[in-house]
């Protein structure tokens, strides 16, 4: 029983906003299946109540002073913009309310 099916790869590709060709989906399903099988060894290891290790440093979050520093110039901020209008970044029309933001 394969661990992952093409449909699931398609769903994940959508979540990740990654357009994959049918060949890519096919191939990736195969590869991921093998990788997930290998990864099962970790999944099945009993770790008891070991704490997760999210960071490899032993200290707490450093804090910085609330001092504003000079920003990038508008030109620097926009210099790599694939598409711009004046000092905005331009994107295809956003349907208002189609996402998270307002």
């Amino acid at each position: 029983m394969p661990r992952i099916q093409p449909d699931e790869v398609r769903t994940i590709a959508t979540l990740a906003r990654l357009r994959l060709s049918p060949e890519e989906i096919e191939r990736m399903t195969h590869e991921l299946d093998a990788i997930l099988e290998y990864i099962d060894t970790v999944k099945n290891l009993d770790t008891g109540d070991t704490e997760p290790m999210t960071h490899a440093v032993p200290f707490d979050c450093p804090l910085r002073q609330d001092e504003p520093m000079p920003s990038l110039s508008v030109e620097d901020a926009l210099q790599n913009a694939p598409r711009r209008r004046d000092s905005f970044f331009e994107v295809p029309r956003i349907v208002p309310g189609s996402g998270e933001g307002s």
């Binding site: 804090l63 504003p68 905005f88």
Partner: protein
């Protein structure tokens, strides 16, 4: 009305823009001008290789907020990445908090139609704001990242709210609170206070919660009431038909007074939260909490109770005075240095000062024409009888215009009431002698004519007669 069959169960998620000088994870300024993308840096633009560094003042503001509402401040909390794709989200994820937020629990107290209410909080956490999308009529949209990275505190309430009015009052209470603490402008129209509402209905007496819908795009206290009202009616109609409410997000349209489903056909949200690897856990120790607690000002509800219970002010007056920190501070300062009872000071502030000042925050400004001590001085002049109420109002007007103290104006222009009985008596005799008809009618029983005589005396003395004395003398003269 079908809505009466149901109990509305409402929870609010409120985002407060914390007024630090620089952004939460980078050092660009939070006060930006008109030009789009003039206030960005590699971090808030999401450039490759950029890393977040946490702003201490932002944490402090959130700690103070948590303490003010009685939350538990976690000694150690974590940041998490919340993933979704949207043009105003430069990294493709927001840095927020998920499993271990800064504050847990707490409650907001306020009054609804004179009754004390408490809404419990689930949590308060920190996160960064996204940029702004602007749309025009062509087929494109525009993105401005000036706002990206501005610090937000998200306040999540328990579903304790039961009406749209209560929701609006809750929002007002939060606004007053954050302004009192000095951590935010709390301005809904400008976006420094935003709310999403979760609304569900259930039959009265039922235990289980109904399916909730989330309302977005609520941009004013008025919208809070209207949007929630509309949603309650919408859900009541559905439930009456025996159908089920769909769990979805709906966008409030204030122009049309209705909401539209935002339910996206393709993708359900899976934020794929995981601990932010670029920020180690945040520690807030007891010393920090103690310092923050010691720095808290008198909180709005406590202030309100002091005004009503200790000072005996009416709920309405106390409400106005406690609604903004600057008004309450001004009132406290004035009434402290004043012999007159607090009620009188309150009246002066509510009727005269607030009418002139515009933005109440100007009460704390050095350029204020009538500082608290100056008002106190004026009120005491009335209290001692040196000025009549009406005279004092004129004096106040001049104090405001000319930025002069009452004592100064009174002394330089002999504005003070003439209380010299002899002088008043002379004028009264003169008036009585000049109006024999009225005297006769008064003595015949038209006692209301006393006012006529007092008025004439006041006119003769250019309003400066002490009306009480004039009154007594006239009564004696007229018999």
């Amino acid at each position: 009305m079908s809505v009466d069959r149901y109990e509305a169960v409402i929870g609010l998620e409120v985002h407060v823009h914390l007024a630090s000088r620089s952004k939460i994870f980078s050092s660009s300024s939070t006060t930006f001008g008109e030009q789009p993308n003039s206030c960005t840096d590699p971090v808030c633009l999401g450039l490759p290789g950029a890393l977040p560094v946490l702003n201490r003042a932002v944490v402090d503001a959130a700690v103070r907020l948590g303490l003010a509402v009685g939350s538990h401040i976690r000694p150690r909390c974590r940041f998490a990445r919340k993933h979704y794709f949207y043009p105003d989200l430069p990294k493709g994820f927001q840095i927020s908090q998920y499993e271990e937020p800064l504050c847990e629990g707490g409650a907001v107290e306020f009054r609804l139609a004179g009754e004390a209410r408490t809404v419990r909080l689930t949590r308060i956490h920190l996160e960064d704001d996204a940029g702004k999308n602007i749309h025009d009529d062509s087929g494109v949209s525009f993105v401005d990242f000036n706002r990206a990275g501005v610090p937000l505190a998200e306040i999540v309430s328990e579903p304790d709210i039961r009406s749209s009015e209560e929701a609006a009052e809750y929002m007002r209470a939060l606004r007053t609170l954050v302004r009192t603490l000095g951590i935010s402008d709390g301005n809904m129209e400008e976006g420094s206070l935003r709310c999403d509402a979760n609304v569900s209905l259930r039959l009265h007496g039922a235990e289980k919660l109904g399916t909730k819908a989330e309302l977005k795009n609520i941009n004013s206290f008025k919208h809070v009431r209207e949007a929630i009202e509309h949603e309650i009616r919408r859900q009541a109609v559905i439930l009456d038909r025996g159908e089920a409410v769909v769990q979805e997000t709906r966008l409030w349209d204030p122009e049309r007074g209705l909401s539209q489903s935002m339910r996206s056909k393709e993708h359900a949200h899976d934020y794929r939260y995981f601990p932010e690897p670029d920020l180690p856990p945040l520690a807030v120790d007891q010393a920090w909490i103690d310092r923050a607690r010691a720095s808290l000002p008198e909180l709005p509800e406590k202030r309100f109770r002091r005004y009503t219970e200790t000072l005996g002010l009416s709920a309405q007056d106390a409400g106005v005075l406690a609604s903004e920190r600057e008004i309450a501070d001004y009132f406290d300062a004035a009434s402290k240095s004043c012999l007159a009872p607090a009620k009188k000071v309150a009246n002066w502030i509510i009727n005269e000062v607030l009418a002139r000042v515009g933005d109440p925050r100007a009460l704390a400004a050095a350029a204020l024409p009538v500082p608290a001590s100056a008002l106190a001085e004026l009120v005491d002049l009335v209290e001692r009888g040196t000025l009549s109420g009406k005279l004092a109002k004129d004096v106040f007007g001049r104090m405001w215009q000319e930025k002069r103290r009452a004592g100064d104006i009174v002394a330089s222009e002999s504005v003070a009431l003439v209380s010299d009985a002899g002088l008043i008596e002379e004028t009264c005799k003169k008036i009585v002698a000049a109006h024999p008809d009225e005297v006769a009618r008064f003595r015949a029983g038209q006692s209301k004519l006393l006012g006529f005589f007092v008025g004439k005396v006041m006119k003769e003395m250019a309003g400066k007669a002490d009306p009480k004395t004039a009154n007594e003398i006239l009564q004696k003269l007229l018999g």
